[in-house]
């Protein structure tokens, strides 16, 4: 089975960052277990060559909370080109979600959005794996 690297930004200070992390976890646990590999993003700097090899070993989808695109740019800075990316801020605009979201206490709306983002990630994974 071809494995895909899915890396989330940390996004601790933004609701979209929490959505990014939780959507990646959903993909890992519920939707594509066994086909998804991930990495704690700060290990690019705090870790070793093995971790910085991530994008050379797997096609990577970066999942970012906002346009700063930390997962994308950190992957490209330390490891290699990303294959695809998800910008949750842009998706929320596209989906017309303008309510204030919580970074610390995800409720019904946050969980719905997280599910939708997980499905976006899966679509991109399926494009990569054919």
């Amino acid at each position: 089975m071809k494995k895909v690297g899915v890396i989330s930004c940390s996004g601790e200070s933004e609701p979209e960052g929490t959505i990014a992390r939780n959507a990646v976890r959903l993909v890992m646990e519920k939707y594509r277990p066994g086909a998804t590999v991930s990495l704690c993003l700060p290990l690019y700097l705090a870790g070793d060559e093995g971790e910085r090899d991530f994008a050379r070993r797997f096609p990577v989808i970066a999942v970012d909370g906002c346009g700063k695109a930390c997962a994308k740019w950190a992957t490209e800075k330390y490891s290699g080109k990303v294959q695809d990316c998800v910008d949750i801020g842009e998706l929320l605009k596209e989906w017309g979600v303008s309510e204030r979201l919580s970074r610390s206490h995800p409720g019904r709306l946050e969980n719905e959005v997280t599910e939708r983002v997980a499905r976006e990630i899966i679509k991109k994974m399926d494009e990569i794996t054919g």
């Binding site: 989330s8 930004c9 940390s10 996004g11 601790e12 200070s13 933004e14 960052g17 992390r21 939780n22 990646v24 976890r25 959903l26 890992m28 646990e29 991930s38 990495l39 704690c40 993003l41 700060p42 290990l43 690019y44 700097l45 705090a46 870790g47 909370g65 700063k68 930390c70 997962a71 740019w73 950190a74 800075k77 970074r103 610390s104």
Partner: protein, 134 residues
């Protein structure tokens, strides 16, 4: 060093429930226990080398909370030129409170929440000391 604001920075662990406990502890501090004198920031910005985020950790007090012994939050803050005033590891708390094992990454469960609260209490009292400049 500016003493008015303390940054509480958890690690970004995606694979361990202990990292989720660290984030919960950080949110408890900055949103419920010590709002106004504490805040958090996206650790990824430090990994990336964002100047504004680096400036924040150089100019302010920082407390890090890491999910495991790899100490990513602490190391990323140090690499950005900051010096954490104190650093915590969720694992150390778990060793002392074996009954408070978190359930999972997405839902840390009741035990995980109680563990996060214990960490938040310690961090809050450290913030009080830092803000008073003791």
């Amino acid at each position: 060093m500016e003493k008015d604001m303390v940054y509480v920075i958890p690690c970004s662990g995606i694979g361990k429930a202990s990292a989720s406990v660290g984030r919960e502890a950080a949110y408890t501090v900055v949103e419920d226990e010590r709002p106004g004198v504490s805040d958090t920031l996206c650790l990824s910005l430090l990994t990336l080398g964002d100047e504004e985020a680096q400036d924040k950790v150089r100019r302010h007090r920082v407390i890090t909370i890491d999910g495991c012994a790899r100490d990513c939050a602490k190391k990323n803050v140090e690499a950005a030129g900051g010096t954490p005033g104190s650093s915590h590891r969720v694992h150390d708390y778990l060793k002392k409170h074996k009954d408070l094992k978190p359930e999972g990454v997405l839902d840390i469960g009741e035990g995980g929440r109680r563990l996060a609260h214990l960490i938040a209490e310690d961090v809050s009292s450290e913030i009080d000391d830092m803000v008073k400049g003791r």
